[in-house]
Subunit: 605 residues, 2 copies
C-alpha cells in the first residue's frame, strides 16, 4: 500500500514477454503442445483411479471400466463444447477467477479463487506422486521411497521457479508430442496383439467386498473424473494464440478433447481385454505398456516419458498459482507481498507458498496417489461449474442471436459438472473430500478478512479523498548516534548538517574514562555540532538512545535519527559489521515515530 | 563499530547486578555452593572414565582404579594450591583469557581463548550426555534415546538463557548441598555395609585385550582427569566474594579441593571393594548408589539429583561462554555482534552459538559420554597451564618476598598440568583428541584474522586521528516514493519538507491510466511538491526508483529517500504491510550511497 503498481491485465498461464509479437504466438498445434500437458498427463492416474475403485467388487467388476470411462468422456465432450463458448466470450482469457468476478460477483469469485488454490496445490501433489508411481514401475527399488522422490522433485521445481524459467511453449512441444505418441502407441500396438507381450507386477487377490451397484459405479466415475483436470487451461490462455485467436483456441480445445477422449477409451478397452488389475507397485499404465512393448527398453523409456510429463504438469501450477496469488494480492485479498517481484520476474512468495502447501499435502498423504485423488477433482469442478454458470448469466443478460441454444449448452455443462461435483463429494467425503470442503470456505473467509482489513486501512489513510495540505514542522533536529571520532563520524555529521536545521551527536558509554576521552577528541575535532554523552552504567546501549530520542521529540520538532553504517565491500565481512546500527534502527522504528535514516559508508575492504 | 560501549571489566561467571552490595556477596560456604557445581559434578563421569579405560586389560585390572585416582587427586592438590596463589594475584578474577592477555601476551591469550571456547562447549556436551546416562540408569527405557534427551535438555537451557535467568548463587545452594550429601552418603553407607545392598545392570564379560602396562595406566589417568574440570571457576569469580575476598575465595578453593578429593578417593575405594565394572546401561555411580541404598526410591532420587546437577553444570557454560565471547568481541577478535545485548541483559548470539556448537558435538558423538571424554580435558589443561605459567612470570618479574617459593609452587603446577596435557594428547589422540588439536589453532587463526580485519577498518576510518571538518553539502533533496494520495502521503511529504531543501515525490506505475489518475489527484491536492511519475511497462517497481535516485544523485546534492511505512497496531497484521518499502530500502542501501529514511505511520488497527 506504500506505492502500488496498477492492477495488471489477467495473465495467461503461458505468459508473453514484452516485445513478443504475433509471430511468437501460438498456432493451434503449438497451443496443444504448450497447454495440454496438465490435462493429457492425467491419463497416467485417471484410469487407474477407476480400476482401484471398481476392484472393491472383485476383479470381475473391472469390466465396468469401459462404461464408466464412456460416461466420463461424455462429460468431457460437454465440457469441451462448453469451453469453446467460454473462449469466444472471454478472448482475454483469465480463468474461473476473472470470469466469476466479472459475471457472478464477489462471493463467487472468492469461491473460484479458493477452489483454484486448492486445485493448483493438488495438481502439484498428484502429478508428483503419480510421477513417482511411474518411476517406481520402471525401477521397483524406488517403490518404498516415493515420498523422498516426490519431495526431491518438488524441491527441484521450487528452485527452478524461484530462479525464474524462460518459459516457452516450444520447450514443451517435444515432451508433449513424445507423450501423445507413446500413449497412442501403447493403445494401438497392444490392440494389434492377440495377447499381452509381457505381464509385470505381483498379482494380488481381490475378494469382492461390496457388490457392483450404482454407488460403486458412481465412486468409480468420480475417481475417474480426475482425468478431466486441466481441460480449462486453453480457455485461460487465449491471448497467447496467433490471430484469429478465438478460432485457433477453440480448435485446440476440440483437439485436446478428442485426444484425451481417444486415449481414455483406448486404455479402458485394453484394461478390459488384458484383464488388468491393481498389481503390487506397478501402475495400470505401466502394465498396459508392458502388454504392448514387452519389458525391454521401450518399457523403461515409456515410464520415464510419463514421469517427465507428470513433472512438467506439476510445473504448470508453478506458472499458475503465483500469478493467481498476485491477482488476489492486487484485489487486496491476499497480503500485498504476493504481488511483489524484486530482481527477477518471479513471484517469490507465491512460489514458496505453493511449495510449502504441496509439501504438507505430500507428507500428510505419504505421497500416495490414491489418497490424493479424492481431494483432487472437487476444486476443479467448482471452477468448471462457475465458468459455465457465468456464461449462462452472460447469455441471459446480453441475449445475442442464438443465445438460448448457447445458454442451453453452457447450462448443460454447468448441470453435468455440478452433478459430477456432488457425486464426487458424496462418494468421497470421508475418503478425503472433507478436507476440501473445510479448506475452501476457510480460504474464502481468509480472503474476505484480508480484504476487509485493507479496506479499513484505506479508509484510515483516506484513500480517494483529498488530504489536508502537508504540514511542515517549524524545525528539524537530526540526532546522530556515534561511538568514536572517525571518518565515519565526519561522513555522518556532514549528511546530517545537510538535512537538519539542528544536528546533535549522541554517544553512550558505560565507562566514565571512555566518555571523557571521547569528549576530548570531539573538542579537538570541533565539528561545530554538540555532543551529548550518556553514561549507561547498566551497559545497555539501545535503551538510553531511545529515551534520549523520546525526550527530544517532546518539543514538536521533526526528529530524524541518522545511523551511519559501515558497509564492507565483501559479503563475507558483513557479519562483522552493521549489527548495532540495524538493531537500534529496529527498536527506534518499533518504539518511536521519528524518521530513522540509514547512511551507508562503503569500505575499501 | 558504529558506536561502541567502553570495554567492560572482566565479568565473573556469577555476575553481580548493579546495586548489589557487599551483603549480597558470597561467604566461603555460599561461594562453594555457587561455584563448585561444575567441578563436583564431574565425579559422575570421571571415575567411570577410569574404569572404562582400565577394563581393556580385563576386570582384574580394575583394582588399579585406586592408585590412578590417587595420582589424579595429587594433581588436584597441586592445582588447588596453585590456584590459591592465582586468587591472591588476580583478585579481579578474569580467568585464563584475562590472565594470559595481561601476563603472557597476545598469542597466549588467543590460545587461552580458543581452548576456553572448546572447554565451554564440551562442558555442555559432556554434562548433558552424562546427565542422560544418569537418567537412563534410573529409567532404562531411555537408554536408547539419549541423544533426543540431550537435545531436549540443550533446547531447554538455550530457551532459558535466551530469556535471561536471574542468576543467583543462592538458587544453586540447595542442589549443591543435596548433591554433596548424596555422594558422601553413598560413600559412607556403602563403606559401612559388608556387601552391596543391590547389584544393578547386566554383567558383561571383558576378556583382557591388552596388559596392564604403563600406557594403559596413563590412558586411565588421562581419562580420569576429566574429573578436574571446573576447578578454575572459583579463581575466575573472586569479585563475587564478600570481603576479605581473597581469603574467602582461597578457603572456598581449598574446600572444593578437599571435597572433590574425598569423593574421588571414596568412590575409587568402593569401585575396588564392590568389584564394579561397566554394566550395560547403568553408570558406575548408579551401581555404587544401588550398593549403598538398594534399588528403592533413594536410588531413583540419587540418579535424579545427579541428572539435575549435571544439567546445572551444563548451564554454567551458558553463563561463561557468552561473556567470554563478548570480551573477545570487545577485543575485536570476534564479530562485534557477540557483544550486543538488546532488550534483555543476554548475549543472544553467544548463547545461540554455544547451543549450536554443543548440538553439533552431541550429534557427531551420538551423545556418547565415552566418545566425548577424550576431547574434554585438553582444553582445560591448556587453561590450567597458561594460568600457572603466567603466575611464574609474574613472580619472576615482581620478585616479592618469598617469590621463589611461590614461583616453585606455580611452576610445579604448570609442569604437572603440562605433563597431564601431553599424556592426554598422546594417549587419546586418535580417540578424538585430534579434534581439539585441529579446532584450537583454527579458532586462534579465526580470532587473529577477525582482529586484523577490524584493525584495517579502524585504519580506514581514521580511528584515533582527528578527521577533517564535516562537509555540509550545498543543498539537499528528499525523494519520497508514493503510490497514492492519502494521509500517508501527507505525513511523508510533511516530514520530508522539514528535512530537505527540496522535496520531490515519485511514483511508479505500469498502467498509463493509473498514472493519469494519480497525477490528477495530486493536482487536486496540490501539496506544493513536484510529483514525478515513472512509467514502468516491465512492471518492475524497485529498479526504476533506484535509477531515478542515481540520476538525482549526480549533481552532488545530499540525497535522502524517505520511505513511509504503514505500521499496523497488531503484530498479526504485519505480514499485510511494509514489504515493498523494506524491499526498496534494502535495494537502495545495497546499490546507492544515499541516506535511506524510514518513516512509520501508525495505524489504529
Amino acid at each position: 500500500m506504500v506505492f502500488g503498481l496498477a492492477r495488471r491485465e489477467l495473465r495467461p498461464r503461458v505468459p508473453l514477454r514484452p516485445g513478443e509479437g504475433e509471430k511468437h504466438r501460438l498456432t493451434s498445434l503449438e497451443g496443444l503442445a504448450a497447454l495440454s500437458l496438465d490435462a493429457l498427463s492425467s491419463v497416467a492416474y485417471g484410469p487407474e483411479a477407476i480400476v482401484i475403485a471398481l476392484v472393491a467388487a472383485g476383479t470381475g467388476a473391472l469390466s465396468a471400466t469401459l462404461p464408466v470411462t464412456l460416461a466420463i468422456v461424455f462429460l468431457l465432450a460437454a465440457l469441451v463444447v462448453s469451453y469453446a463458448q467460454v473462449i469466444a466470450v472471454h478472448p482475454d482469457g483469465g480463468g474461473a477467477y476473472a470470469v466469476a468476478k466479472k459475471d457472478l460477483g464477489p462471493t463467487a469469485s472468492l469461491l473460484a479463487a479458493a477452489s483454484l488454490v486448492v486445485d493448483y496445490v493438488l495438481t502439484v501433489a498428484v502429478s508428483l506422486s503419480a510421477g513417482a508411481d511411474a518411476l517406481a514401475s520402471a525401477f521397483p527399488a524406488l517403490a518404498h521411497d516415493k515420498l523422498p522422490v516426490c519431495l526431491a522433485g518438488l524441491a527441484l521445481l521450487t528452485v527452478v521457479n524461484l530462479r525464474g524459467v524462460a518459459e516457452s511453449a516450444r520447450v514443451l512441444m517435444l515432451p508433449t508430442v513424445l507423450f501423445i505418441m507413446t500413449i497412442l502407441g501403447v493403445v494401438v500396438i497392444d490392440l494389434l496383439r492377440s495377447h499381452p507381450a509381457a505381464v509385470v507386477g505381483t498379482p494380488l487377490s481381490f475378494p469382492p467386498k461390496e457388490s457392483l451397484g450404482l454407488l460403486l459405479l458412481l465412486k468409480a466415475f468420480s475417481s475417474g473424473c480426475s482425468a478431466l483436470t486441466g481441460v480449462e487451461a486453453i480457455a485461460n490462455a487465449v491471448p497467447t494464440f496467433r490471430a484469429p485467436r478465438v478460432r485457433r483456441a477453440q480448435r485446440t480445445e476440440l483437439m485436446l478433447g478428442a485426444l484425451l477422449g481417444v486415449m481414455l477409451i483406448g486404455l479402458a478397452v485394453l484394461i478390459r481385454r488384458d484383464h488388468v488389475a491393481p498389481r503390487g507397485e506397478v501402475t495400470v499404465l505401466a502394465q498396459l505398456t508392458a502388454g504392448a512393448f514387452g519389458t525391454g527398453w521401450p518399457y523403461y523409456a515409456t515410464n520415464l516419458v510419463v514421469t517427465l510429463v507428470l513433472g512438467l504438469a506439476a510445473n504448470t501450477s508453478f506458472g499458475g498459482l503465483p500469478v493467481l496469488m498476485s491477482l488476489l494480492a492486487r484485489d487486496h485479498r491476499l497480503p500485498h507481498l504476493f504481488g511483489l517481484r524484486a530482481e527477477r520476474p518471479v513471484y517469490r512468495y507465491g512460489v514458496l507458498a505453493l511449495a510449502l502447501l504441496a509439501a504438507v499435502l505430500l507428507l500428510a498423504t505419504e505421497a500416495d496417489t490414491h489418497r490424493l485423488i479424492p481431494l483432487f477433482a472437487i476444486g476443479v469442478f467448482i471452477g468448471f461449474t462457475l465458468s459455465q454458470l457465468g456464461l449462462v448469466l452472460h447469455w441471459a443478460r446480453d441475449k445475442p442471436a442464438g443465445w438460448r441454444r448457447r445458454a442451453l449448452i453452457n447450462g448443460t455443462g454447468a448441470l453435468l459438472t455440478t452433478l459430477a461435483g456432488v457425486i464426487l463429494l458424496t462418494t468421497k467425503f470421508l475418503a478425503g473430500a472433507w478436507v476440501v470442503v473445510v479448506a475452501v470456505p476457510l480460504l474464502m473467509l481468509l480472503f474476505a478478512r484480508i480484504q476487509r482489513y485493507y479496506t479499513a486501512v484505506g479508509e484510515e489513510l483516506g484513500l480517494g479523498r483529498v488530504p489536508a495540505p502537508p504540514d511542515r514542522r517549524t524545525a528539524s533536529l537530526v540526532i546522530v548516534p556515534l561511538g568514536e571520532v572517525s571518518k565515519l563520524a565526519r561522513h555522518a555529521i556532514g549528511a546530517a548538517l545537510s538535512l537538519g536545521d539542528e544536528v546533535v551527536a549522541v554517544a553512550v558509554h558505560a565507562d566514565p574514562a571512555k566518555s571523557r576521552a571521547l569528549r576530548e577528541s570531539w573538542e579537538r575535532w570541533n565539528p561545530g555540532v554538540r555532543l551529548d554523552v550518556i553514561d549507561s552504567p547498566s551497559r545497555s546501549l539501545v535503551q538510553p538512545i531511545v529515551d534520549y530520542v523520546q525526550r527530544a521529540a517532546r518539543d514538536g520538532r521533526q526528529i530524524a535519527v541518522l545511523i551511519p553504517e559501515v558497509e564492507p565491500r565483501h559479503r563475507r565481512y558483513e557479519i562483522l559489521q552493521n549489527q548495532r546500527g540495524l538493531l537500534l534502527a529496529t527498536v527506534l522504528r518499533a518504539r518511536t515515530d521519528v524518521v530513522v535514516c540509514l547512511l551507508p559508508y562503503r569500505l575499501g575492504l
